[in-house]
């Protein structure tokens, strides 16, 4: 794992110094993170990277994981889908079992933190222990729940309202709650395999492996094969632009091999690509971070033409690599792109094709967008900003005013 000082060449000495200033104000406080898995998934990934960095800043950061059996996790999976707006049946028995597992974890857990930082719905009912252990409790929601199913939302609200505050990744995810709600956007780690600067020979070798011509413009969309990512729309955009500008299209991403819909989308995409030798459809296995990085780094323009999106961190990844990005104005994408300043926001195939043509034909404009885009990510979507927001969040528990002199 990288050390905090390794971020100085990327964000500047003053940014790291300021993290130390802030962390000093938390002296004597222990922050105990609790989630449901130590490996796999976005939450575990960010905690794995963040906990060592917080400790380097001298914050006493701890991390505990709740235990659950298959039944518990199949219930929480149903919760997850319902929060995404999917129709699922959750019985009273499911709700009871969920609470029972939480209570059993609560009995066996040492609540040593001054701040209990609970991640996502799985451990949410640990708050039932609040009366007994006291302390400050924060609930961090990493999930996009723009349109959650009311039964699950109502159930979760019974617990959320007993926390000191709730944290969401985008404004649209906030709910009607009686407790304060805070916005903390997710981040990318510029030193991870997916985002670090790759040597040219690695990029070239990845292009060679997939038989992509590095001398000609490359248009890329990285996303799983899913209707919501609109890969067919991307092919249509490419076909419209190809008439005016020579280019290749790369559609790369993963997806569960046991997901029938994913396979259907992949087949449709392959069929739409027909026999066009300039369209590369690449199904990537998990842990293809270097390949994704190389494909993004080699691209001329990157698209993210999603119809629906959570936060859409692939946009931040693309912008960080200094690439001009055209993306749909959905989910968290407008937070990452200011239209015509740091990228292009579009709403249709026609609009995407129009701007793609423009960026391919006007490299100076494309460069200006990409320079601004990279700076925007540097200032707002790197892990150092994420850490800073968390430090402020922890401090906010001890102050009530709008302006706090530390």
């Amino acid at each position: 794992m990288p050390e905090i000082r390794e971020y100085i060449p990327i964000v500047g000495q003053s940014v790291i110094d300021e993290l130390f200033f802030l962390a000093e104000k938390l002296e004597g406080k222990t922050v105990q993170n609790i989630n449901s898995t130590a490996v796999g998934g976005g939450v575990a990934e960010i905690l794995t990277r963040m906990i060592p960095l917080l400790r380097e800043l001298a914050v006493d950061a701890q991390w505990d994981v709740i235990k659950g059996d298959g039944k518990f996790f199949s219930i929480t999976k149903k919760f997850h889908n319902a929060l995404h707006g999917v129709d699922v049946v959750i019985t009273d028995e499911d709700f009871s079992y969920f609470v029972e597992v939480n209570h059993s974890n609560a009995e066996n857990m040492n609540f040593l933190g001054d701040i209990l930082f609970i991640h996502d719905p799985q451990p949410i009912a640990l708050i039932d222990k609040r009366k007994e252990v006291g302390k400050n409790w924060i609930w961090r929601c990493h999930i996009d729940f723009t349109k959650p199913k009311p039964d699950v939302m109502d159930f979760l609200k019974l617990y959320i309202r007993r926390y000191d505050c709730a944290v969401f990744s985008a404004p649209a995810f906030s709910r009607n709650l009686t407790i304060p709600q805070v916005l903390v956007s997710p981040s990318i780690d510029p030193l991870s395999d997916k985002n670090r600067e790759l040597p040219k020979d690695i990029i070239d070798s990845v292009l060679e492996r997939f038989d992509i011509d590095k001398e000609r413009p490359i248009i890329t969309q990285i996303s799983r094969f899913d209707y919501l990512k609109d890969p067919l729309g991307v092919i249509e955009v490419y076909k419209r632009v190809k008439k005016y500008a020579d280019c290749q299209l790369v559609l790369a991403g993963g997806g569960a091999t046991d997901d029938p819909e994913g396979l259907k989308v992949l087949e449709e995409v392959q069929s739409a690509a027909e026999d066009d030798p300039d369209i590369y459809i690449i199904f990537l296995p998990p842990s293809s971070d270097i390949e994704i990085n190389a494909l993004q780094s080699a691209s001329t323009v990157i698209l993210q033409k999603s119809l629906k999106e959570g936060f859409g961190l692939t946009v931040a990844e693309a912008l960080w690599k200094g690439k001009p990005v055209i993306a749909s104005a959905v989910g968290g994408i407008p937070l990452q792109i200011a239209h015509k300043y740091s990228g292009i926001l579009t709403y249709s195939i026609e609009g995407t094709a129009y701007y793609l043509k423009q960026l391919l034909q006007d490299p100076d404009y494309a460069r200006k967008l990409s320079v601004n885009g990279r700076e925007h990510i540097r200032n707002n979507f790197l892990i150092t900003r994420h850490i800073r927001d968390y430090l402020l969040l922890f401090l906010s528990l001890y102050y009530q005013d709008d302006v706090v002199e530390l």
Partner: protein, 214 residues
């Protein structure tokens, strides 16, 4: 008496107010009822998050009206609100209210945004921290200006004036206090809302160096 300048820095923690607007009328309702820290947030966020972009730092209201509702005439009026001329957030809020009320009473067009494109009102808690940098004279001051973070620069120029309702920015006040009234006047005269923070840094250093030469 201590004439040293103590550099500070600041950070914002963004709060979600769960107040949303789908059209200009709801935007007006929101602007009327949100706390002043929300007006501050939406008129200064671009300056903080896009401090390398020049020369158009629009406020969030103008951006939403123009780019989401496509109400270019109304958006332009919001772009045109000269933030530097307002001494506090109450006056700034009133200016926005006046524009919207006038617009709604005249044209009556209450264009609604598509679902998912609502304006979300937010506010912020500001945390102010001391930095180790202290200037004892104008030479040290210029040297420190070169190396402080954009946040520190922002704090002394914007936050002090508008959010904390001081008459002038911190740099002008200090420069005047140590006998550099002419430099203070120049620093207070430029409109920081129309240049980037890096531009502001260069301009401030330039004024000090030019005056030192003269």
């Amino acid at each position: 008496m201590n004439f040293s300048f103590y550099f500070k820095t600041y950070f914002h923690l963004v709060k979600l107010l769960r107040i949303r607007a789908k059209n200009p009328r709801e935007l007006l309702t929101g602007i009327k009822k949100v706390p002043l820290s929300s007006i501050y947030y939406h008129t200064h966020r671009f300056l903080q998050q896009h401090h390398y972009l020049s020369p158009e730092p629009p406020n969030d209201f103008a951006y939403w009206l123009t780019n989401i509702l496509n109400l270019r005439d109304l958006g332009e009026q919001f772009y045109g609100v000269d933030t530097i001329h307002f001494h506090n957030l109450r006056e700034l809020r009133s200016a926005f209210i006046t524009i919207l009320e006038k617009y709604l009473s005249k044209s009556g067009r209450n264009t609604k945004c598509a679902e998912g494109y609502e304006f979300h009102f937010m506010s912020c808690t500001t945390f102010v921290l001391p930095t180790p940098y202290v200037a004892h004279n104008i030479g040290e001051f210029a040297e420190i200006i070169r190396k402080i973070s954009p946040n520190s620069l922002y704090y002394h120029i914007f936050e002090a004036r508008m959010r904390l309702e001081r008459d002038e920015n911190d740099f002008s006040a200090w420069l005047k206090g140590i006998g550099y009234a002419n430099i203070a006047q120049e620093v207070s005269r430029f409109d920081p809302y129309t240049i980037t923070l890096e531009g502001l840094r260069k301009k401030t250093i330039g004024i000090i160096e030019r005056n030192a030469r003269d």
